[in-house]
């Protein structure tokens, strides 16, 4: 309540319960087919569509207003949208879409008739009506049977899979691990160099977010640091696109994007230190940027070129470190090649980074399905293996075939014997052959019928439908529960994304600091030993403790524990 006047929280951070106009939504077409869309309010005809802005997919057309003001996650039916005449119209008008009346008239002409047009879709009635009410008139679409989509709130994960690629993307398995390891938490300040496509920026801002800075100034009382991402991008085109994205996503003030070559320019923003405590470098040559991330002016030998870059070579000017002066700084670099890693690690060691750790993340996605093997399974859809499911079934089947074959052979033999006995004209012989054919067919059918009785039907395409129900009945299992549940990997796996090098830089500790700490915590009054101690000592201590505790009741012990907790928290 106290913090209500937050103008617009990014949909990434708080999407609210329903979809909003002018806000990003992710349309899920299929599991991995996601489409980011900025929902437009219905402001009359748009781009030749009488329905306003429309998303066209292989599952049909979806006017934006059918997706407005609905709960997130809603299933949206496709609408009947006139896409054909729009194209013709536009061509006729010379690609100029100012002729609103003409299009409107045209759409009315070949529309479904006024009655149908007026009725909004059933299920989105609340949304469609609410969104469209009072707004400029747009054509109300009818639900189409071509398909549906789901409209999901944006998250860094969805954005990562759907964003427009500008560079190699840092995917969720990598960034989730990185953010965990570099301790990016609410209130952290994070430097990211190489904004790239922005997937990491979005995940990072979610991790460090603990309120917008403006709101912080208003609250003022806490004085708590607000989390922020300082992002740097070298490529101008990508910088502008990213800048646009940041403001479209309501992340202004949370991500500060700078267009700069950090190898030469460093990480200061307006000459001031961002005071970062977490750093992510997605650069081709991290070792060129690393000397900038020092607490003290690095000696010239540690710069890759042997001398500090221009602007930093003046020893008279004080060195401003972009790092938080009183905190350990955690760093991660992201490099695809091992040679980059070697150079980076070497530079890190010389610059005083500790806890250097290199890992690579292997992520696999698995798909659960039913492995349907069996002779009596219905070919319900693809993926059924109509072979024997076990040895018993194979043997039964073989015995069956064998029996049928023997029966048939015996019949043929007896018939041949009969034919030989009553040998007539050549025509008669042909007749006999024909009769044999007929016999054979009927044999098969009876065999099949007998087999069906055993619950061992081999499906025949001709009688598929009856047999489907028959099989379901005999097994008692619907087709989606048949077979063994299995998991298998996706057809193509990412075997290598990049090597992640982690490191930490402790805060600087001077003689004065040490003297102050030593004065504050004087040595010499040690009473107890903690940590690893001999079993004998531990036993003795325990004995003493128990003796001391004897008189105390449960209550007293609890009180003691609470007191201890209080001390801990102090």
């Amino acid at each position: 309540m106290a913090s209500q006047p937050e103008p617009a929280v990014s949909p990434f951070l708080d999407p609210g319960p329903r979809t909003k106009a002018h806000s990003l939504a992710i349309l899920q077409l299929s599991r991995d087919n996601l489409l980011p869309v900025y929902l437009q309010p219905p402001t009359g005809e748009h781009d030749g569509y009488a329905e306003g802005a429309v998303v066209n997919t292989r599952y049909g057309s979806f006017p934006h207003y059918t997706m407005l003001n609905v709960p997130w996650g809603s299933q949206i039916r496709a609408s009947k949208v006139d896409t054909g005449s729009r194209g013709r119209k536009r061509k006729r008008d010379g690609a100029d879409d100012t002729s609103r009346e003409a299009t409107a008239a045209a759409s009315e002409k070949d529309g479904e008739g006024p009655g149908a047009v007026a009725t909004p879709t059933q299920e989105t009635g609340g949304g469609g009506g609410g969104g469209g009410g009072g707004a400029p008139v747009v054509k109300q679409a009818v639900a189409d049977s071509s398909g549906f989509i789901h409209v999901l709130p944006p998250t860094p994960e969805l954005w990562t899979t759907s964003l427009p690629h500008r560079t190699q993307v840092v995917y969720t398995p990598d960034y989730s691990y990185i953010l965990h390891r570099i301790r990016a938490r609410p209130g952290s300040t994070l430097i990211e160099a190489g904004a790239g496509s922005g997937s990491f920026s979005h995940a990072a801002v979610r991790a460090v977010y603990n309120g917008y800075p403006a709101a912080a100034a208003a609250a003022a009382a806490g004085g708590q640091r607000k989390g922020k991402v300082f992002s740097f991008e070298y490529h101008e085109d990508r910088y502008h696109k990213m800048k646009q994205e940041i403001s479209d996503h309501g992340l202004d003030g949370l991500i500060q994007l700078t267009h700069r070559d950090v190898y030469n320019g460093g990480f200061l923003v307006d000459g001031k230190s961002p005071e970062a405590d977490a750093i992510f470098l997605d650069l081709p040559a991290p070792w060129e940027a690393l000397p900038h991330l020092s607490r003290r002016r690095p000696p010239p030998s540690l710069w890759p070129s042997g001398a500090p870059p221009p602007g930093l070579d003046d020893p008279a000017r004080a060195w401003v470190s972009p790092l938080h002066p009183r905190k350990t700084v955690h760093l991660c670099t992201f490099s695809p090649c091992i040679e980059q890693v070697t150079r980076t690690v070497s530079a890190m060691r010389r610059l005083g980074w500790v806890d250097i750790d290199m890992v690579e993340i292997a992520n696999r996605r698995l798909h659960a399905s039913r492995d349907r093997v069996g002779l009596n399974l219905v070919n319900f859809d693809r993926g059924v293996n109509n072979s024997a499911k076990d040895v018993e079934e194979a043997v039964t089947r073989l015995a069956e075939i064998e029996a049928r074959f023997r029966e048939h052979a015996a019949k043929a033999r007896s018939r041949a014997a009969g034919a030989g006995a009553g040998a007539g004209a050549g025509a008669g012989g042909a007749d006999a052959a024909g009769a044999g054919d007929v016999d054979m067919d009927s044999d098969d059918e009876t065999a099949a019928a007998a087999a069906a009785g055993d619950g061992n039907t081999a499906p025949r395409p001709a009688a598929e439908e009856e047999e489907e129900t028959a099989a379901a009945k005999t097994d008692g299992l619907p087709p989606w529960m048949e077979g063994r549940l299995i998991t298998r990997g996706e057809p193509e796996i990412k075997t290598h994304t990049s090597y992640l090098v982690f490191a930490a830089l402790p805060m600087e500790w001077t003689e004065e600091d040490e003297a102050r700490a030593a004065a504050k915590y004087p040595v010499g009054q040690e009473q107890k030993v903690i940590g690893t101690i001999d079993k004998a000592i531990r036993k003795q201590e325990r004995r003493e403790q128990l003796q001391k505790q004897q008189p105390g009741s449960k209550k007293a012990r609890r009180k003691e524990r609470d007191e201890k907790l209080g001390e801990v928290l102090g």
Binding site: M1, Q28, R349, R365, L565
Partner: protein, 643 residues
């Protein structure tokens, strides 16, 4: 936190052997590192984290070892030497095949050799070296003696060991490096102090304690679950106003749940003793103390040391509503300041006032106690834990100073942001006595006549009732922003009861050490099952409304309503660690095995009311001859190629 080691903080000590020791650094104690020696705790208090300390030799007049911070150059001295050696050798070797200075080899009997890209032999391995390990001339007693002399933080021991190894000249540079590393790990007297955050704690629990307690949850999995469930700071705290219910008022005076205020809430099922809750709390910014987040150690320490005394006085009021209390305190301070202003204008009285005013302020500092029905929980940024026994098992939160069982808890951010309720309270609250028993009431007069202990009991019962009622009602109201799960229970049964509580589009992330439960869960949302559900395969759902379908109890054929989740996916991640050293970079030879760990992810969908047709628009689609079959209603979304 995470900048300076504070008294009584839980820390992780990293030893040269690679082991971690987790302990609480109590002032005025001695920390023993086993074979590496011991030192007074006060020597690391107030010092920074992550630096490497070295135990110095005892001074003649002192009975303990002092510490010395090892500069990074010294840590990496050997690597630098190797790098330089490599730099020097490279040009020499390119000239001729005379790179043999660096090749330490035995005469004859080469087993195999390592050749660099120019064909120069870098190192040779010899069977004799590999076979014989007992080449150390120093006996165990002599080594012990050396250790007792204990000079130069163990470096002397290592140097002597190397010198007295007879076959040292026969070692390849690789085995030499390995030998040296082995001895260094054993004898160097160095250690590092790490803050005990979730990442460090989980690693320690996994590697050195009982991994099964945290369901073998590796760092990769903690990261994945947190991200896929979109766990993040869920908005600034919002508290319900105090209803100021008098003791005579019953349940009807409890503040009702206002669904519009509830935001940024995550539902958790945690069988990892609280690790999952801690990881989420860290992501939401409610695990670590706010004040300590700032690194200004020295200045802020003075007041913080006095804090326990103050809090102890405050915690006499057993409501753990720290933030609410703070807010209340803020209002009282403003009132006192206005009172003082009034005093200023009334100069005549002011002369008489000063003496009583401080004494008056003293009880005021204790602030007015919130009424029994005051809800201490924030409406935003909360974690709701569902537990299967009568009390939640969140014992690991103790490492971050939070004890779920403590009635008079000192202030902690989790107090206002962690809600717990049992499955019984969620599903059949009328059977739960703490929910169903109405609160006791009494007139103020009767109350005043009681003994303090009875009065305390009365208030305690009323507070507990109000809190239970609020937790249960607000949870049942639903609208959660996500579901996170790491449980030994069947995930299907968990989802059956939690899916209706999720807001539309809310992510679901379920961790399991093994894949089978997740596969069974994913199978509930398989394409054929969805198809059958949509296409009338379940006659029992005909005519049910969407609300009824959301709470569909499930049957054998459809354990869950398969349309309630979208984008169902299972994944696993593994971090492979590498050793990076000049010329010796390779993945580690062994790593932790055991449970692999899998994460199930999906989003809560809001299915459209009524039948949804989806024939799709596919150019090369085969026309199904048999119309009217369930395939026709196949959600085009999932089965672009079906039929």
């Amino acid at each position: 936190m995470h900048s300076i080691i504070r008294p009584n903080a839980w820390v992780a000590l990293k030893l040269p052997s690679g082991n971690t020791k987790v302990l609480q650094v109590t002032p005025n104690t001695t920390i023993s590192l086993g074979k590496y020696g011991s030192f007074p705790t006060n020597l690391i208090l107030g010092r920074p984290y992550h630096v490497t300390f070295e135990l110095q030799d005892k001074r003649p007049d002192e009975s303990f070892s002092r510490l010395h911070i090892v500069p990074a150059d010294e840590l990496y001295a050997e690597v630098f030497a190797e790098e330089e050696a490599a730099d020097c050798v490279a040009p020499a070797a390119s000239g001729s095949g005379n790179g043999h200075d660096t090749v330490i080899s035995a005469a004859g009997g080469d087993e195999y050799s390592l050749v660099d890209d120019k064909g120069n032999v870098v190192a040779r391995s010899d069977r004799a070296v590999l076979d014989e390990s007992a080449r150390q001339r120093l006996t165990q007693d002599e080594i012990e003696e050396l250790k007792r002399e204990g000079n130069n933080a163990g470096k002397d021991v290592i140097a002597k060991l190397l010198l007295s190894h007879t076959a040292l000249d026969q070692k390849t540079s690789f085995s030499l490096a390995k030998y040296k590393l082995l001895k260094t790990k054993k004898y160097i007297r160095r250690f590092q102090v790490l803050p005990l955050d979730v990442a460090t704690f989980a690693q320690w629990q996994l590697d050195e304690r009982d991994a099964s307690k945290i369901l073998d949850m590796r760092a990769e999995m903690i990261g994945l679950v947190g991200c896929w469930a979109n766990v993040h700071f869920g908005g600034h705290d919002v508290f319900l106003p105090d209803p100021n219910a008098s003791p005579g008022q019953g349940a009807q005076a409890c503040p009702p749940v206002d669904e519009k205020l509830l935001r940024g809430r995550w539902l958790v099922v945690d069988d990892t003793c609280g690790l999952l809750v801690a990881a989420m709390a860290e992501r939401m910014g409610v695990l670590h103390e706010q004040g300590s987040e700032e690194g200004e150690g020295e200045e802020s320490k003075a007041p913080s040391q006095q804090l326990p005394v103050v809090t102890k006085a405050e915690t006499q009021a057993p409501t753990p509503a720290a933030a609410a209390a703070a807010a209340a305190a803020a209002t009282t301070t403003t009132t006192t300041s206005t009172a003082q202003k009034d005093g200023d204008t009334e100069m005549t009285d002011a002369a008489g006032e000063p003496a009583p005013q401080p004494s008056d302020a003293q009880p005021k500092a204790k602030k007015p106690r919130p009424s029994d029905f005051m809800i201490p929980y924030s409406q935003t940024n909360t974690i709701t834990v569902l537990h299967s026994s009568s009390q939640p098992n969140l014992s690991f939160l103790n490492y971050w100073g939070f004890d779920i069982a403590s009635p008079n808890h000192p202030p902690h951010p989790l107090l206002n942001h962690l809600l717990t309720l049992s499955w019984l309270q969620l599903l059949q609250p009328e059977l739960d006595s703490s929910y169903a028993t109405p609160p006791p009431t009494a007139s103020p007069e009767t109350l005043a006549s009681w003994k303090p202990s009875r009065r305390g009991n009365f208030h305690r019962k009323r507070r507990r009732f109000a809190r239970t009622r609020y937790v249960v009602d607000s949870t049942r109201a639903g609208g959660f922003s996500g579901l996170v799960c790491a449980s030994t229970m069947d995930p299907i049964s968990i989802l059956r009861h939690t899916l209706p509580l999720l807001a539309g589009g809310a992510p679901v992330a379920i961790y399991s050490p093994t894949i089978e439960p997740l596969a069974a869960l994913a199978d509930c949302f398989s394409v054929p099952r969805r198809t059958a559900w949509v296409g009338g395969g379940a006659p029992e759902i005909e005519g049910l409304s969407n609300e009824e379908l959301e709470r569909w109890p499930g049957n054998e054929r459809f354990p869950l309503n398969p349309t309630l989740l979208q984008g169902v996916s299972i994944q696993t991640s593994r971090a492979r660690r590498w050793q990076v050293l000049p010329g010796r970079t390779h993945p580690l030879m062994t790593e932790r095995g055991g449970a692999e760990g899998f994460v199930f992810t999906a989003w809560r969908a809001k299915p459209a009311e009524g039948k949804v047709a989806a024939k799709g628009k596919f150019k090369r689609r085969k026309v199904e001859p048999a119309a009217g079959k369930p395939q026709d209603a196949t959600p085009g979304v999932e089965t672009p190629a079906s039929g």
